[in-house]
Amino acid sequence: MIRASLLIAAKDVRQRIRDRSAIMLGLVAPLGLAFIFSLIIPDFGGGDFVVRVAVVDEDGGLVSQAFTDQVLGPFADEGLLEISDAGSRDETLGLVADGGLDATYVIPAGFSSDVLAGLPAEIRVTGNVDAQIATEVAAAIAAEFTGTLTGAQLAAQASGADVGLLALQAAQAARPVVLSEAEAASKVLDATTFFSAGMAIFFLFFTVQFGVASLLEERIEGTMPRLLAAPIPPISIVGGKAIASLAVGVIAMAVLTVASAVFIGADWGHPIGVAVLIAASVLAALGIMAVIATLAKTPEQSSNWQTIVAVVLGMLGGTFFPVSQGPEALADISLLTPHAWFMRGLGELHAGGGPTSVAVPVAAILAFAAVTVGIAGLRVNRMVRL
């Protein structure tokens, strides 16, 4: 019985490998698209972040000097700021508008004297409209400084003491509240890995769709009666189809994983975790595609419905774009697809998790597999007939 299944499976696998459009959809398309995506998506993750600024000091007073030298200077030494020589206010603002600078500080005339007299004063930060992050950083640096000055002004107001003296003390005093930073290991995949994994799981559904559906073809092409006439139980025929689908699915996923890691630098995480996720996903994909095949009457109908389901699940499951970062409702809907759980599992591995970290995603994917394989199993016998 098992021998017969294996024979049928081997024949189907050979047939698939010889079919060039299967290789196209199973391997070339996912790898090619992942490669294209990795080329067009800029990676925001790494790289040094430098804010290009200039200081238009129309004041030229003590306080504005202190800002340029003692506040901005250390940031420039650190490499966070790149300070260019500023021309006139209009020239510099023009440069910011064109994107030649990220942002500029304008310290208006009379700034220092106003600050020291306890009057309202203002440092203006003008940033390029597309360089929001850089502008925020530039503004935050200035805000730290003006906060100290305001503290001195407040104290002066309450005590009648000299603002300048208090400001000097304030500059030396430790800041009462500081921001400490903790980085959470990201479970969001980098662009290359995201698209490699997304395309792989998306096209997996097309790769395994032929299995049970090919029972319909066997009937149309007249090979089904011959199989039934052979001294093998019908279950061996179904088993053979399932084994062929599983084998092709696993092979395709394995090739895609290795190829995307080697050629475009996808980072899949712990190999055992990845293997378990893939095995569960292949089962779920097989089950879902098989249920649809058992509902169809002709091979064309089956393939059309399968395509629609695979595409919709793929889209909702966040294989083309990260749905999990969208609105809450959409993120919740996406968990109704095995795709989303596959991507989530990879996220756990991406954050450095071991094989156990994917337990929940794997269980969820296996639940899809159990339900759909069960339904397909109950219905499939109707397809194995003359």
């Binding site: 459009s21 196209m24 064109d98 003006t146 100290t148 107001q157 309450a158 909702l316 993120a331």
Partner: protein, 384 residues
């Protein structure tokens, strides 16, 4: 007349297949909806906040909630907050130590924890949070200056500083922006709709090459040639058929997105002209693929791959403006990039017909070039 009949039959053949109806009409609209809902409109970064009790803690919470354009979500458990950041649901988190008030009142240094993932948005949010924290710090700093200078005792100093804060405007930072925004002020679906339009019109055209191959393989073309119909008429009829399919889909997506999602396509004549020009390119692409390949299944699967791949390179999935520079240049070799540029001239920059003439010209060049090659190949296949 004969040309028209061949063309119409091609359109009819496509529409009769129910799964085609899904991919031609339903799926594009679904994608515009999902992408618009996910990424369109004004994006508000989300910060998770674990607040601290006490007067100073409340003041900090208020300051953080008041930050413009940031959505602050309150959390109790640090684990949940970190989980939200790790999964990308939150862009950053702020954990205020529970002894915030007592630390500050006792003269100590309070450390507010800022939790972030490794993306650049985290850096931006860090700056805004830092600014809010600095405002808080200011009053406490003033109080300490008063206490240290012997002007008031510990208990009084904070009160005095807070009173002063109510009257003194202080030294501030004013932020403004300059230059023209790349994406400007556009509707939630305005960026995605033209992208989906060119993606699907071209994808359907390429996948339609399968129908062209079937026409040849099933002998329909030979039978047509046996009637008093010239090869030229067959060719033009097939081109018209692909063009018709592209136009039907294009007009549907345009009107559908206009009615359902309120996408403003700008000058209607210019938009229609762009659609016609792009549909010609699509039709020509489908003809070329259908003439090169001999197996309709290959035509279908290669069409889908090429359709998605070219769309990605041409900026129909990710806006071209965020591409690395070399890829921006490469994108210029796809018709998609020119069509999208034309549509964004109309949608984002309120352009008129004259503004899209360059794009129209280039699209027509694409179309004529592809058609010329395709017709030579197609005639050869038809007659041999």
């Amino acid at each position: 007349m004969k040309i028209l009949t061949i063309g119409l039959n091609n359109v009819r053949r496509l529409l009769r297949e129910r799964s085609n109806v899904f991919f031609v009409f339903v799926f594009p609209m679904l994608l515009i909806l999902v992408i618009g809902a996910s990424f369109g409109g004004s994006f508000e970064p989300r910060i998770g906040l674990i607040p601290a009790a006490g007067a100073l803690g409340d003041a900090l919470t208020d300051d953080l909630i008041d930050i413009d354009d940031v959505d602050v979500v309150l959390y109790v458990s640090r684990d949940e907050l970190v989980d939200g950041i790790q999964r990308g649901r939150l862009n950053a988190g702020v954990v205020v130590p529970h002894d915030y008030d007592t630390t500050l009142l006792g003269g100590g240094r309070a450390s507010v924890e800022f939790v972030t993932g490794p993306d650049q948005l985290g850096q931006q949010l860090r700056s805004t949070v830092q600014a809010a924290v600095a405002r808080q710090s200011t009053v406490v700093l003033a109080a300490r200056l008063l206490a240290d200078g012997g002007f008031a005792d510990q208990a009084e100093s904070l009160e005095l500083a807070q009173e002063a804060a109510a009257t003194v405007a202080g030294v501030t930072v004013a932020v403004e922006s300059a230059g023209e925004a790349t994406f400007g002020d556009i509707g939630r679906f305005d960026l995605g709709a033209p992208q989906q339009l060119v993606l699907f019109v071209f994808l359907t055209s390429l996948a339609g090459s399968a129908a062209l191959i079937q026409t040849r393989r099933w002998g329909v073309s030979r039978r047509m040639l046996a009637t008093p119909t010239s090869a030229r008429e067959v060719l033009l009829g097939e081109v018209l058929g692909r063009f018709g399919v592209a136009m039907v889909q294009g007009v549907f997506i345009m009107l559908g997105s206009l009615v359902v999602f309120g996408v403003d396509w700008g000058d209607p004549w210019a938009a229609a002209a762009l659609l016609v020009a792009f549909s010609i390119v699509g039709a020509a692409g489908g003809m070329l693929l259908g003439s090169v390949l001999d197996n309709d299944e290959q035509g279908g699967s290669f069409g889908v791959f090429a359709g998605l791949g070219l769309a990605a390179i041409g900026g129909a999935m990710v806006p071209i403006e965020v591409f690395p520079e070399t890829m921006q240049t490469v994108a210029r070799f796809t018709p998609h990039a020119w069509a999208i540029e034309g549509f964004s001239d109309l949608i984002r920059h309120d352009g008129g017909f004259s503004d899209v003439i360059p794009e129209l010209g280039i699209l027509l060049l694409f179309g004529i070039g592809l058609l010329a090659v395709a017709s030579v190949l197609f005639r050869r296949k038809l007659t041999t």
